[in-house]
Symmetry: C2
Subunit: 119 residues, 2 copies
DNA sequence: GCAATGGTCAACCGATCGGTTGAATAAGAC
DNA sequence: GTCTTATTCAACCGATCGGTTGACCATTGC
C-alpha cells in the first residue's frame, strides 16, 4: 500500500547496499517469482531470503502478493526513481550508457546471482 | 569473500544510505570544504563527522587533500556513475528530470541538512 | 483427516554501525 | 617555546544487521 515513490532514500539505498538483495532484484527483472524460487540459487536459508524480501518490500522496491500458499514477488522499478534522480544531480546529468549497464548486469548475474561463491 | 567487482556498489550504496552523509555530499556540491566546516551545521561531534567523511572517501564519493593543517574535502561525482548505471537499468531508461532533482535537493537540505532536528 | 509444501516468526549469535569521550598528533600563530 | 586550532585515534556503548535454527501457521493434495 505504500507508494513506492515516497519511500525514503534511507531505506532504498540501504536495501541496495546488500549484494544478495541486488541479485534478487536482478532476478526479478526477468520475471515475477515465488519466495522459494527466489531462494533456490542462494546458499542461505529460506528464512534469510524471506527477510531480504521484507527489506526490499519495505523500501518499495518489490511488492508481494499471496495467491494460495504461494507469495509472488514483483519488481517495482519506480521506487528507484527518487534515488536515481537524487544521484544524477551529482554528476553532470550525463546520459545513461546502456552498454555500461549491460556490462554491470552481466557481472551481477555472474557473481551475486551465482550461489557458488556467496558463502 | 567479497567480490572486488561488486564491492564498489556495496560501499557506494551503503555510504548513501545515511542521511548525514547525503547531506554532506549536498554541501560539497556547492564547494570544497574543510572537515571542521563540514561538521559545523551538525549536532554531532567532530569525530563522528570525521568518520562519515572516511566512509565517503572509502566509497570514492569524496577525496581529501591535506594542505597545511587543514584537510579539504572534494566531491567526486564520478563514483556515483556505476551505481547510477546499475539503477537506471531497472527503470525504462527514462531521462532524468531536472525539476524533480531540484525538489529532492530542497527536501534533503531542509530535512537532513538542518542540524536542528538531526538528533 | 493427515502429510507435505510454502512461508513466516521468535530467539539467538557475532559483526558492524553510528555515536560518544578523552587523549594524541600535527601545524600555525605569537 | 607555548598556546591554539585542525583532525584523527582508541576505547567504549547500545542498536541494528545478516545470518542461523526450530517451532509455527496456511494451503494443497491424497
Amino acid at each position: 500500500m505504500t507508494d513506492p515513490r515516497t519511500a525514503p532514500l534511507d531505506t532504498v539505498f540501504a536495501a541496495l547496499a546488500d549484494p544478495t538483495r541486488r541479485a534478487i532484484l536482478t532476478m526479478l527483472l526477468e520475471d515475477d517469482m515465488a519466495v522459494t524460487d527466489v531462494a533456490e540459487p542462494f546458499e542461505m536459508s529460506l528464512a534469510a531470503i524471506s527477510k531480504h524480501l521484507t527489506i526490499l518490500a519495505g523500501a518499495g522496491l518489490i511488492t508481494q502478493e499471496k495467491r494460495g500458499r504461494v507469495k509472488w514477488c514483483k519488481l517495482e522499478p519506480d521506487a528507484l526513481k527518487s534515488a536515481s534522480v537524487w544521484m544524477q544531480g551529482f554528476g553532470q546529468f550525463e546520459p545513461v550508457n546502456l552498454d555500461a549497464f549491460e556490462a554491470f548486469l552481466e557481472r551481477e548475474l555472474g557473481r551475486d546471482g551465482d550461489a557458488g561463491d556467496m558463502a
